[in-house]
Protein backbone atom coordinates (compact mmCIF):
# COMPACT_ATOMS: atom_id res chain seq x y z
CA UNK A 1 0.00 0.00 0.00
CA UNK A 2 1.11 3.52 -0.84
CA UNK A 3 2.21 5.98 1.81
CA UNK A 4 0.75 9.46 1.97
CA UNK A 5 -1.94 10.81 -0.30
CA UNK A 6 -3.45 9.20 -3.40
CA UNK A 7 -1.26 9.35 -6.46
CA UNK A 8 -4.02 10.69 -8.65
CA UNK A 9 -1.76 11.12 -11.62
CA UNK A 10 -0.98 7.42 -11.63
CA UNK A 11 -4.56 6.44 -10.89
CA UNK A 12 -5.79 8.34 -13.92
CA UNK A 13 -3.71 6.16 -16.21
CA UNK A 14 -5.70 3.14 -15.11
CA UNK A 15 -8.94 4.65 -16.42
CA UNK A 16 -9.01 4.55 -20.22
CA UNK A 17 -12.17 6.64 -20.47
CA UNK A 18 -10.35 9.64 -18.98
CA UNK A 19 -8.53 10.17 -22.26
CA UNK A 20 -11.82 10.64 -24.03
CA UNK A 21 -12.76 14.03 -25.47
CA UNK A 22 -16.24 15.55 -25.19
CA UNK A 23 -16.91 18.43 -27.57
CA UNK A 24 -13.18 18.44 -28.31
CA UNK A 25 -12.33 18.97 -24.66
CA UNK A 26 -10.93 16.40 -22.23
CA UNK A 27 -13.70 14.66 -20.34
CA UNK A 28 -14.15 15.91 -16.79
CA UNK A 29 -16.30 13.34 -15.08
CA UNK A 30 -18.10 14.76 -12.06
CA UNK A 31 -21.05 12.37 -12.04
CA UNK A 32 -19.55 9.77 -9.75
CA UNK A 33 -22.46 9.57 -7.35
CA UNK A 34 -24.52 8.23 -10.27
CA UNK A 35 -21.90 5.72 -11.37
CA UNK A 36 -18.11 5.67 -11.34
CA UNK A 37 -15.70 4.91 -14.15
CA UNK A 38 -13.90 1.55 -14.28
CA UNK A 39 -10.18 0.87 -14.15
CA UNK A 40 -8.58 -1.35 -16.77
CA UNK A 41 -8.22 -4.18 -14.25
CA UNK A 42 -11.98 -4.43 -13.89
CA UNK A 43 -12.61 -4.26 -17.63
CA UNK A 44 -9.92 -6.89 -18.16
CA UNK A 45 -11.29 -9.22 -15.49
CA UNK A 46 -14.61 -9.34 -17.31
CA UNK A 47 -12.94 -9.85 -20.66
CA UNK A 48 -10.66 -12.53 -19.24
CA UNK A 49 -13.65 -14.43 -17.92
CA UNK A 50 -15.40 -14.43 -21.30
CA UNK A 51 -12.25 -15.20 -23.24
CA UNK A 52 -10.90 -17.94 -21.01
CA UNK A 53 -13.30 -19.60 -18.61
CA UNK A 54 -16.87 -18.53 -19.27
CA UNK A 55 -19.14 -21.21 -17.82
CA UNK A 56 -22.21 -21.59 -15.70
CA UNK A 57 -21.31 -22.14 -12.07
CA UNK A 58 -22.04 -24.28 -9.03
CA UNK A 59 -23.64 -27.15 -10.88
CA UNK A 60 -21.07 -28.64 -13.22
CA UNK A 61 -17.91 -30.64 -12.71
CA UNK A 62 -15.99 -29.67 -15.83
CA UNK A 63 -12.92 -27.55 -15.33
CA UNK A 64 -14.16 -24.18 -16.57
CA UNK A 65 -17.21 -24.47 -14.33
CA UNK A 66 -14.90 -25.02 -11.40
CA UNK A 67 -12.76 -22.04 -12.32
CA UNK A 68 -15.78 -19.80 -12.76
CA UNK A 69 -17.33 -20.97 -9.49
CA UNK A 70 -14.07 -20.34 -7.71
CA UNK A 71 -13.70 -16.80 -9.07
CA UNK A 72 -17.34 -15.98 -8.36
CA UNK A 73 -17.10 -17.15 -4.76
CA UNK A 74 -13.77 -15.38 -4.33
CA UNK A 75 -15.60 -12.08 -4.84
CA UNK A 76 -18.01 -13.01 -2.09
CA UNK A 77 -15.04 -13.38 0.22
CA UNK A 78 -13.59 -10.07 -0.88
CA UNK A 79 -16.89 -8.33 -0.19
CA UNK A 80 -17.19 -9.98 3.21
CA UNK A 81 -13.71 -8.80 4.13
CA UNK A 82 -14.25 -5.33 2.65
CA UNK A 83 -17.19 -4.60 4.94
CA UNK A 84 -15.89 -6.92 7.68
CA UNK A 85 -18.89 -9.21 7.86
CA UNK A 86 -18.67 -12.31 10.04
CA UNK A 87 -19.00 -14.73 7.19
CA UNK A 88 -19.54 -15.04 3.46
CA UNK A 89 -22.93 -16.58 4.19
CA UNK A 90 -24.19 -13.09 4.97
CA UNK A 91 -23.33 -11.69 1.54
CA UNK A 92 -26.00 -11.95 -1.16
CA UNK A 93 -25.42 -10.83 -4.72
CA UNK A 94 -28.25 -8.81 -6.24
CA UNK A 95 -28.59 -6.65 -9.38
CA UNK A 96 -28.10 -3.36 -7.53
CA UNK A 97 -28.77 -1.62 -4.23
CA UNK A 98 -32.38 -1.12 -5.24
CA UNK A 99 -33.05 -4.81 -5.62
CA UNK A 100 -31.29 -5.44 -2.33
CA UNK A 101 -33.71 -3.11 -0.53
CA UNK A 102 -36.62 -4.81 -2.25
CA UNK A 103 -35.53 -8.22 -1.01
CA UNK A 104 -35.78 -6.83 2.50
CA UNK A 105 -39.06 -5.00 1.94
CA UNK A 106 -40.64 -8.10 0.42
CA UNK A 107 -39.04 -11.11 2.07
CA UNK A 108 -38.48 -9.62 5.51
CA UNK A 109 -41.18 -6.96 5.41
CA UNK A 110 -44.07 -9.19 4.52
CA UNK A 111 -43.30 -11.47 7.47
CA UNK A 112 -42.47 -8.81 10.03
CA UNK A 113 -44.52 -5.71 9.31
CA UNK A 114 -48.18 -5.64 10.27
CA UNK A 115 -51.09 -3.25 10.49
CA UNK A 116 -50.31 -0.10 12.54
CA UNK A 117 -46.59 -0.80 12.60
CA UNK A 118 -44.33 2.06 11.60
CA UNK A 119 -41.40 2.08 9.25
CA UNK A 120 -39.06 5.01 9.66
CA UNK A 121 -36.95 6.59 6.95
CA UNK A 122 -35.60 10.11 6.46
CA UNK A 123 -36.31 12.97 4.11
CA UNK A 124 -32.83 12.44 2.68
CA UNK A 125 -33.58 9.11 1.10
CA UNK A 126 -33.09 8.06 -2.49
CA UNK A 127 -36.30 6.84 -4.17
CA UNK A 128 -34.97 3.30 -3.85
CA UNK A 129 -35.22 3.66 -0.11
CA UNK A 130 -38.69 5.25 -0.20
CA UNK A 131 -40.89 3.55 -2.77
CA UNK A 132 -40.43 -0.05 -1.54
CA UNK A 133 -41.53 1.05 1.93
CA UNK A 134 -44.52 2.97 0.60
CA UNK A 135 -45.61 -0.19 -1.19
CA UNK A 136 -45.03 -2.37 1.87
CA UNK A 137 -46.97 0.07 4.06
CA UNK A 138 -49.77 0.08 1.56
CA UNK A 139 -49.98 -3.69 1.54
CA UNK A 140 -49.76 -4.17 5.28
CA UNK A 141 -51.51 -0.97 6.37
CA UNK A 142 -48.46 0.04 8.32
CA UNK A 143 -47.39 3.67 8.22
CA UNK A 144 -44.31 5.42 6.95
CA UNK A 145 -42.63 8.02 9.07
CA UNK A 146 -39.92 10.50 8.14
CA UNK A 147 -37.09 11.88 10.21
CA UNK A 148 -36.82 15.49 9.09
CA UNK A 149 -33.80 17.19 7.63
CA UNK A 150 -33.04 20.78 8.52
CA UNK A 151 -32.00 23.37 5.96
CA UNK A 152 -28.36 22.84 6.73
CA UNK A 153 -28.80 19.25 5.57
CA UNK A 154 -28.61 17.57 8.98
CA UNK A 155 -31.08 15.11 10.47
CA UNK A 156 -33.23 16.21 13.36
CA UNK A 157 -31.86 13.91 16.04
CA UNK A 158 -34.45 14.86 18.66
CA UNK A 159 -37.18 13.80 16.32
CA UNK A 160 -35.22 10.63 15.61
CA UNK A 161 -35.07 9.77 19.28
CA UNK A 162 -38.79 10.39 19.71
CA UNK A 163 -39.72 8.22 16.74
CA UNK A 164 -37.55 5.43 18.05
CA UNK A 165 -39.40 5.44 21.32
CA UNK A 166 -42.69 4.82 19.58
CA UNK A 167 -43.39 1.19 20.31
CA UNK A 168 -44.91 0.67 16.86
CA UNK A 169 -41.65 1.42 15.11
CA UNK A 170 -40.49 -1.85 13.59
CA UNK A 171 -37.75 -0.85 11.17
CA UNK A 172 -35.47 2.06 10.38
CA UNK A 173 -34.05 2.32 6.90
CA UNK A 174 -31.56 5.08 6.41
CA UNK A 175 -28.81 6.30 4.10
CA UNK A 176 -25.34 6.53 5.53
CA UNK A 177 -24.47 9.32 3.10
CA UNK A 178 -27.00 11.43 1.19
CA UNK A 179 -26.54 11.24 -2.57
CA UNK A 180 -27.71 14.85 -2.86
CA UNK A 181 -26.50 16.83 0.13
CA UNK A 182 -23.60 14.57 0.94
CA UNK A 183 -24.61 14.60 4.61
CA UNK A 184 -22.93 11.88 6.62
CA UNK A 185 -25.61 10.46 8.87
CA UNK A 186 -24.60 9.34 12.38
CA UNK A 187 -25.76 5.80 11.74
CA UNK A 188 -23.77 4.29 14.55
CA UNK A 189 -25.59 6.42 17.06
CA UNK A 190 -28.96 5.79 15.42
CA UNK A 191 -28.37 2.04 15.37
CA UNK A 192 -27.41 2.10 19.02
CA UNK A 193 -30.60 3.96 19.90
CA UNK A 194 -32.69 1.67 17.69
CA UNK A 195 -31.23 -1.51 19.13
CA UNK A 196 -32.05 -0.19 22.58
CA UNK A 197 -35.66 -0.56 21.47
CA UNK A 198 -35.02 -3.80 19.56
CA UNK A 199 -35.62 -2.09 16.25
CA UNK A 200 -33.58 -3.44 13.33
CA UNK A 201 -31.83 -0.99 11.02
CA UNK A 202 -31.17 -1.13 7.29
CA UNK A 203 -28.30 1.03 6.10
CA UNK A 204 -28.37 2.23 2.51
CA UNK A 205 -24.63 2.39 2.01
CA UNK A 206 -24.72 3.10 -1.74
CA UNK A 207 -22.86 6.38 -1.15
CA UNK A 208 -20.69 5.38 1.79
CA UNK A 209 -19.09 2.01 1.02
CA UNK A 210 -17.47 3.37 -2.17
CA UNK A 211 -15.99 6.38 -0.42
CA UNK A 212 -14.98 5.58 3.16
CA UNK A 213 -14.15 2.67 5.44
CA UNK A 214 -17.29 0.78 6.49
CA UNK A 215 -17.48 -2.00 9.04
CA UNK A 216 -20.75 -3.82 9.61
CA UNK A 217 -19.59 -5.31 12.88
CA UNK A 218 -18.69 -1.93 14.36
CA UNK A 219 -21.86 -0.19 13.22
CA UNK A 220 -23.83 -3.35 14.01
CA UNK A 221 -26.41 -2.71 11.28
CA UNK A 222 -28.88 -5.49 10.55
CA UNK A 223 -29.08 -5.00 6.80
CA UNK A 224 -26.81 -3.13 4.46
CA UNK A 225 -27.08 -2.52 0.72
CA UNK A 226 -24.82 -1.03 -1.94
CA UNK A 227 -24.03 -1.19 -5.67
CA UNK A 228 -20.83 -2.31 -7.39
CA UNK A 229 -21.16 0.23 -10.21
CA UNK A 230 -20.69 3.11 -7.78
CA UNK A 231 -17.34 1.76 -6.62
CA UNK A 232 -15.39 1.00 -9.81
CA UNK A 233 -17.32 -2.21 -10.44
CA UNK A 234 -19.53 -3.20 -13.35
CA UNK A 235 -23.23 -2.50 -13.72
CA UNK A 236 -25.53 -5.32 -12.73
CA UNK A 237 -24.15 -6.22 -9.30
CA UNK A 238 -25.44 -5.14 -5.91
CA UNK A 239 -24.85 -6.41 -2.41
CA UNK A 240 -27.27 -7.26 0.32
CA UNK A 241 -25.65 -7.90 3.69
CA UNK A 242 -27.93 -9.44 6.30
CA UNK A 243 -26.92 -10.35 9.83
CA UNK A 244 -26.92 -14.10 10.08
CA UNK A 245 -29.56 -14.46 12.80
CA UNK A 246 -32.03 -12.51 10.66
CA UNK A 247 -30.99 -14.20 7.45
CA UNK A 248 -31.64 -17.63 8.87
CA UNK A 249 -35.30 -16.78 9.36
CA UNK A 250 -35.71 -15.06 6.00
CA UNK A 251 -37.91 -16.65 3.35
CA UNK A 252 -36.48 -16.70 -0.17
CA UNK A 253 -37.62 -13.97 -2.51
CA UNK A 254 -36.71 -14.89 -6.08
CA UNK A 255 -37.01 -18.63 -6.55
CA UNK A 256 -35.96 -21.14 -9.18
CA UNK A 257 -32.77 -22.88 -10.19
CA UNK A 258 -29.67 -22.82 -7.97
CA UNK A 259 -31.45 -21.73 -4.80
CA UNK A 260 -32.80 -25.21 -4.13
CA UNK A 261 -31.48 -28.40 -2.65
CA UNK A 262 -34.29 -30.72 -3.73
CA UNK A 263 -37.35 -30.05 -5.83
CA UNK A 264 -40.28 -32.45 -5.71
CA UNK A 265 -43.56 -32.06 -7.50
CA UNK A 266 -45.30 -30.28 -4.69
CA UNK A 267 -42.56 -29.17 -2.36
CA UNK A 268 -39.02 -27.92 -2.35
CA UNK A 269 -36.10 -27.97 0.07
CA UNK A 270 -34.16 -24.73 -0.18
CA UNK A 271 -30.42 -24.46 -0.47
CA UNK A 272 -28.06 -23.33 2.27
CA UNK A 273 -27.21 -19.68 2.91
CA UNK A 274 -26.50 -17.54 1.00
CA UNK A 275 -27.42 -19.48 -2.17
CA UNK A 276 -31.05 -19.68 -1.10
CA UNK A 277 -31.29 -16.03 -2.09
CA UNK A 278 -29.63 -16.23 -5.49
CA UNK A 279 -31.95 -17.83 -8.01
CA UNK A 280 -31.12 -18.60 -11.61
CA UNK A 281 -27.86 -18.06 -13.39
CA UNK A 282 -26.15 -15.18 -11.59
CA UNK A 283 -24.31 -12.29 -13.18
CA UNK A 284 -21.10 -14.31 -13.10
CA UNK A 285 -18.83 -12.12 -15.21
CA UNK A 286 -19.69 -8.93 -13.39
CA UNK A 287 -19.40 -10.43 -9.94
CA UNK A 288 -15.89 -11.48 -10.95
CA UNK A 289 -15.26 -7.98 -12.30
CA UNK A 290 -16.43 -6.55 -9.00
CA UNK A 291 -13.75 -8.60 -7.26
CA UNK A 292 -11.13 -6.72 -9.27
CA UNK A 293 -12.74 -3.41 -8.24
CA UNK A 294 -12.46 -4.30 -4.57
CA UNK A 295 -8.83 -5.28 -5.07
CA UNK A 296 -8.21 -1.89 -6.66
CA UNK A 297 -9.83 0.02 -3.80
CA UNK A 298 -7.95 -2.04 -1.23
CA UNK A 299 -4.67 -1.23 -2.91
CA UNK A 300 -5.43 2.49 -2.60
CA UNK A 301 -6.82 2.29 0.91
CA UNK A 302 -10.26 3.58 1.85
CA UNK A 303 -8.87 6.06 4.37
CA UNK A 304 -6.85 7.76 1.68
CA UNK A 305 -9.79 7.84 -0.69
CA UNK A 306 -11.80 9.57 1.99
CA UNK A 307 -9.04 12.12 2.60
CA UNK A 308 -8.71 12.85 -1.10
CA UNK A 309 -12.42 13.52 -1.40
CA UNK A 310 -12.52 15.78 1.64
CA UNK A 311 -9.71 17.85 0.20
CA UNK A 312 -11.20 18.15 -3.25
CA UNK A 313 -14.65 18.93 -1.92
CA UNK A 314 -13.26 21.67 0.29
CA UNK A 315 -11.32 23.12 -2.61
CA UNK A 316 -14.40 23.16 -4.84
CA UNK A 317 -16.78 24.54 -2.25
CA UNK A 318 -14.39 27.35 -1.37
CA UNK A 319 -14.26 28.44 -5.00
CA UNK A 320 -17.98 28.02 -5.57
CA UNK A 321 -18.89 30.14 -2.56
CA UNK A 322 -17.21 33.07 -4.25
CA UNK A 323 -19.45 32.95 -7.32
CA UNK A 324 -22.27 35.48 -7.07
CA UNK A 325 -25.73 33.91 -7.37
CA UNK A 326 -24.46 30.52 -6.17
CA UNK A 327 -26.53 28.53 -3.68
CA UNK A 328 -24.91 25.49 -2.07
CA UNK A 329 -27.08 22.85 -0.40
CA UNK A 330 -26.14 20.60 2.50
CA UNK A 331 -23.33 20.74 5.04
CA UNK A 332 -20.73 23.39 4.28
CA UNK A 333 -17.91 21.64 6.10
CA UNK A 334 -16.31 19.06 3.82
CA UNK A 335 -15.52 16.86 6.83
CA UNK A 336 -19.22 16.33 7.46
CA UNK A 337 -20.10 15.25 3.97
CA UNK A 338 -19.21 12.92 1.15
CA UNK A 339 -17.65 14.23 -2.05
CA UNK A 340 -20.93 15.52 -3.38
CA UNK A 341 -21.86 19.16 -3.98
CA UNK A 342 -25.40 20.12 -4.94
CA UNK A 343 -26.07 23.68 -5.95
CA UNK A 344 -28.04 26.13 -8.04
CA UNK A 345 -26.76 29.13 -9.94
CA UNK A 346 -29.11 32.11 -10.26
CA UNK A 347 -32.21 31.26 -12.25
CA UNK A 348 -30.35 28.90 -14.54
CA UNK A 349 -32.21 25.63 -14.49
CA UNK A 350 -29.94 22.66 -13.67
CA UNK A 351 -30.65 20.97 -17.00
CA UNK A 352 -29.61 24.08 -18.84
CA UNK A 353 -26.52 24.31 -16.69
CA UNK A 354 -25.66 20.68 -17.39
CA UNK A 355 -26.02 21.30 -21.12
CA UNK A 356 -23.70 24.27 -20.95
CA UNK A 357 -21.14 22.38 -18.85
CA UNK A 358 -21.30 19.51 -21.29
CA UNK A 359 -20.03 21.90 -23.94
CA UNK A 360 -16.99 22.31 -21.72
CA UNK A 361 -16.51 18.54 -21.55
CA UNK A 362 -17.83 18.42 -17.99
CA UNK A 363 -20.35 15.77 -16.96
CA UNK A 364 -22.46 16.76 -13.97
CA UNK A 365 -25.89 15.55 -12.99
CA UNK A 366 -28.97 17.74 -12.87
CA UNK A 367 -32.49 17.07 -11.75
CA UNK A 368 -34.11 15.57 -8.71
CA UNK A 369 -31.37 12.97 -8.17
CA UNK A 370 -34.01 10.39 -7.30
CA UNK A 371 -34.75 12.34 -4.15
CA UNK A 372 -37.96 14.21 -4.83
CA UNK A 373 -39.00 14.17 -1.19
CA UNK A 374 -35.86 16.12 -0.38
CA UNK A 375 -36.51 18.44 -3.34
CA UNK A 376 -39.99 19.16 -2.00
CA UNK A 377 -38.43 19.99 1.33
CA UNK A 378 -36.25 22.62 -0.34
CA UNK A 379 -39.21 23.66 -2.50
CA UNK A 380 -37.22 22.92 -5.64
CA UNK A 381 -37.71 20.59 -8.54
CA UNK A 382 -34.05 20.25 -9.40
CA UNK A 383 -30.49 20.87 -8.34
CA UNK A 384 -27.16 20.57 -10.10
CA UNK A 385 -24.71 18.12 -8.61
CA UNK A 386 -20.97 17.61 -8.96
CA UNK A 387 -19.59 14.47 -7.31
CA UNK A 388 -15.99 13.34 -7.09
CA UNK A 389 -13.93 10.20 -6.99
CA UNK A 390 -10.36 9.01 -6.85
CA UNK A 391 -9.36 10.26 -10.30
CA UNK A 392 -10.63 13.85 -9.99
CA UNK A 393 -8.20 16.73 -9.58
CA UNK A 394 -8.11 20.39 -8.44
CA UNK A 395 -7.31 21.36 -12.05
CA UNK A 396 -10.60 19.82 -13.14
CA UNK A 397 -12.35 21.82 -10.42
CA UNK A 398 -10.77 25.00 -11.80
CA UNK A 399 -12.17 24.29 -15.25
CA UNK A 400 -15.54 23.58 -13.71
CA UNK A 401 -15.51 26.99 -12.01
CA UNK A 402 -14.69 28.64 -15.34
CA UNK A 403 -17.56 26.84 -16.98
CA UNK A 404 -19.94 28.04 -14.29
CA UNK A 405 -18.88 31.58 -15.03
CA UNK A 406 -19.47 30.99 -18.72
CA UNK A 407 -23.01 29.83 -17.94
CA UNK A 408 -23.61 33.06 -16.06
CA UNK A 409 -22.46 35.03 -19.07
CA UNK A 410 -24.77 33.11 -21.43
CA UNK A 411 -27.75 33.65 -19.19
CA UNK A 412 -26.82 37.25 -18.65
CA UNK A 413 -26.59 37.06 -14.89
Amino acid sequence: MQKGALNVHRIRKDFPILSRKIKDKPLIYFDNAATTQKPMSVIDAIRDYYMNYNSNIHRAVHQMAEEATHAYEATRQKVARFINSHSTDEIIFTRNATEAINIVSHAWGEDNIHKDDRIVITELEHHSNIVPWQILCNQTRASLDYIEVDHGGYLNMDRCEKILQNKNTKLISISEVSNVLGTIVPIRKIIEMAHGQDIPVLVDAAQSVPHMPVDVQTTDCDFMVFSAHKMLGPTGVGILYVKREILEKLQPFISGGDMIKEVHKYETVYNDLPYKFEAGTPNIADVIGFGAAIDYLNRLGMDKIRDHEIELTKYAMDAMKDIRGMTLYGPLDAKNKGGVISFNLGDIHPHDLATILNDHGIAIRSGHHCAQVLMEKFDLSAMSRASFYIYNTPEEVDKFINALNDAKRLFGI
Binding site: H351, T355, G367
Partner: protein
Amino acid sequence: MSEDIYREIILDHYRNPRNKGSLPNADISIHDSNPLCGDEIDIHLKVEEDMIKDIKFEGRGCAISQASASMLTEQVLNKPLNTVKDIAKEDILENIGLMNLGPARIKCALLSLKVLKLGMVKYYADRDPGSAKKIQDESKLY
Protein backbone atom coordinates in the same frame (compact mmCIF):
# COMPACT_ATOMS: atom_id res chain seq x y z
CA MET B 1 -23.39 24.53 -28.77
CA SER B 2 -24.75 26.41 -25.82
CA GLU B 3 -24.45 29.73 -27.64
CA ASP B 4 -26.95 28.50 -30.24
CA ILE B 5 -29.33 27.01 -27.73
CA TYR B 6 -29.60 29.80 -25.22
CA ARG B 7 -30.45 32.59 -27.60
CA GLU B 8 -32.31 35.72 -26.57
CA ILE B 9 -35.67 34.39 -27.63
CA ILE B 10 -35.47 31.26 -25.50
CA LEU B 11 -34.35 33.23 -22.48
CA ASP B 12 -37.10 35.77 -23.10
CA HIS B 13 -39.82 33.10 -23.13
CA TYR B 14 -38.20 31.43 -20.11
CA ARG B 15 -38.19 34.62 -18.08
CA ASN B 16 -41.41 36.12 -19.47
CA PRO B 17 -43.56 33.13 -20.35
CA ARG B 18 -46.70 33.85 -22.37
CA ASN B 19 -50.01 32.35 -21.23
CA LYS B 20 -48.67 31.20 -17.91
CA GLY B 21 -51.06 30.78 -15.01
CA SER B 22 -54.22 29.02 -13.99
CA LEU B 23 -57.52 28.96 -15.85
CA PRO B 24 -60.65 28.75 -13.72
CA ASN B 25 -63.45 26.86 -15.44
CA ALA B 26 -61.11 25.18 -17.87
CA ASP B 27 -62.75 22.48 -19.98
CA ILE B 28 -59.66 20.34 -19.81
CA SER B 29 -56.76 20.37 -17.41
CA ILE B 30 -53.99 17.91 -17.86
CA HIS B 31 -50.71 17.27 -16.11
CA ASP B 32 -47.62 15.32 -16.95
CA SER B 33 -44.02 15.22 -15.96
CA ASN B 34 -40.81 14.10 -17.54
CA PRO B 35 -39.67 11.18 -15.42
CA LEU B 36 -36.12 11.64 -16.59
CA CYS B 37 -35.64 15.09 -15.22
CA GLY B 38 -38.70 15.98 -13.21
CA ASP B 39 -39.91 18.84 -15.40
CA GLU B 40 -43.64 19.32 -14.94
CA ILE B 41 -46.31 20.90 -17.11
CA ASP B 42 -50.02 21.51 -16.54
CA ILE B 43 -52.09 22.74 -19.47
CA HIS B 44 -55.58 24.20 -19.08
CA LEU B 45 -57.87 24.69 -22.06
CA LYS B 46 -61.11 26.49 -22.71
CA VAL B 47 -62.75 25.03 -25.82
CA GLU B 48 -65.75 26.38 -27.67
CA GLU B 49 -67.09 24.72 -30.81
CA ASP B 50 -63.83 22.92 -31.18
CA MET B 51 -61.83 26.14 -31.03
CA ILE B 52 -59.19 26.72 -28.38
CA LYS B 53 -60.59 29.88 -26.88
CA ASP B 54 -58.11 30.13 -24.07
CA ILE B 55 -55.03 28.27 -22.97
CA LYS B 56 -52.76 28.55 -19.93
CA PHE B 57 -49.86 26.54 -18.72
CA GLU B 58 -48.28 26.06 -15.35
CA GLY B 59 -45.09 24.24 -14.65
CA ARG B 60 -41.53 24.24 -13.68
CA GLY B 61 -38.51 23.12 -15.54
CA CYS B 62 -35.64 24.19 -17.70
CA ALA B 63 -35.50 27.10 -20.12
CA ILE B 64 -36.18 24.77 -23.01
CA SER B 65 -39.31 23.17 -21.57
CA GLN B 66 -40.71 26.47 -20.33
CA ALA B 67 -39.95 28.40 -23.49
CA SER B 68 -41.38 25.70 -25.71
CA ALA B 69 -44.57 25.56 -23.61
CA SER B 70 -44.86 29.31 -23.86
CA MET B 71 -44.41 29.25 -27.63
CA LEU B 72 -46.77 26.33 -28.10
CA THR B 73 -49.59 28.08 -26.25
CA GLU B 74 -49.12 31.10 -28.49
CA GLN B 75 -49.23 28.92 -31.54
CA VAL B 76 -52.50 27.10 -30.78
CA LEU B 77 -54.55 29.86 -29.18
CA ASN B 78 -57.64 30.48 -31.29
CA LYS B 79 -56.93 27.46 -33.46
CA PRO B 80 -59.22 24.43 -33.84
CA LEU B 81 -58.54 21.85 -31.14
CA ASN B 82 -58.33 18.98 -33.60
CA THR B 83 -55.41 20.58 -35.42
CA VAL B 84 -53.34 19.74 -32.33
CA LYS B 85 -53.09 16.20 -33.53
CA ASP B 86 -51.17 17.32 -36.59
CA ILE B 87 -48.43 19.13 -34.72
CA ALA B 88 -45.27 17.10 -35.12
CA LYS B 89 -42.10 16.92 -33.13
CA GLU B 90 -40.29 18.72 -35.91
CA ASP B 91 -42.73 21.64 -35.81
CA ILE B 92 -41.88 22.27 -32.20
CA LEU B 93 -38.15 22.03 -32.69
CA GLU B 94 -38.30 24.34 -35.65
CA ASN B 95 -40.47 26.77 -33.77
CA ILE B 96 -38.04 27.10 -30.95
CA GLY B 97 -35.11 26.95 -33.34
CA LEU B 98 -33.47 23.91 -31.80
CA MET B 99 -33.10 21.25 -34.44
CA ASN B 100 -29.96 19.80 -32.90
CA LEU B 101 -30.98 18.99 -29.36
CA GLY B 102 -29.69 15.74 -27.90
CA PRO B 103 -32.22 13.04 -27.04
CA ALA B 104 -32.43 13.97 -23.37
CA ARG B 105 -33.10 17.64 -24.01
CA ILE B 106 -35.57 16.87 -26.80
CA LYS B 107 -37.86 15.42 -24.16
CA CYS B 108 -37.77 18.80 -22.41
CA ALA B 109 -38.74 20.56 -25.61
CA LEU B 110 -41.60 18.18 -26.34
CA LEU B 111 -43.15 17.81 -22.90
CA SER B 112 -45.73 20.55 -23.45
CA LEU B 113 -46.79 19.08 -26.78
CA LYS B 114 -47.22 15.71 -25.13
CA VAL B 115 -49.43 17.24 -22.45
CA LEU B 116 -51.47 19.19 -24.99
CA LYS B 117 -52.08 16.07 -27.06
CA LEU B 118 -53.08 14.10 -23.97
CA GLY B 119 -55.52 16.92 -23.18
CA MET B 120 -57.02 16.83 -26.64
CA VAL B 121 -57.49 13.06 -26.53
CA LYS B 122 -59.09 13.32 -23.12
CA TYR B 123 -61.41 16.07 -24.29
CA TYR B 124 -62.73 14.01 -27.19
CA ALA B 125 -62.83 10.82 -25.17
CA ASP B 126 -64.97 12.47 -22.47
CA ARG B 127 -67.42 13.59 -25.10
CA ASP B 128 -67.38 10.56 -27.37
CA PRO B 129 -65.67 7.56 -25.82
CA GLY B 130 -66.02 5.65 -29.08
CA SER B 131 -63.78 8.03 -30.95
CA ALA B 132 -61.00 8.11 -28.38
CA LYS B 133 -59.00 5.24 -29.81
CA LYS B 134 -59.07 6.73 -33.28
CA ILE B 135 -57.92 10.15 -32.18
CA GLN B 136 -55.26 8.66 -30.02
CA ASP B 137 -53.90 6.70 -32.97
CA GLU B 138 -53.99 9.76 -35.20
CA SER B 139 -52.22 11.99 -32.76
CA LYS B 140 -49.20 9.74 -32.33
CA LEU B 141 -46.92 11.23 -29.78
CA TYR B 142 -43.58 11.72 -31.44
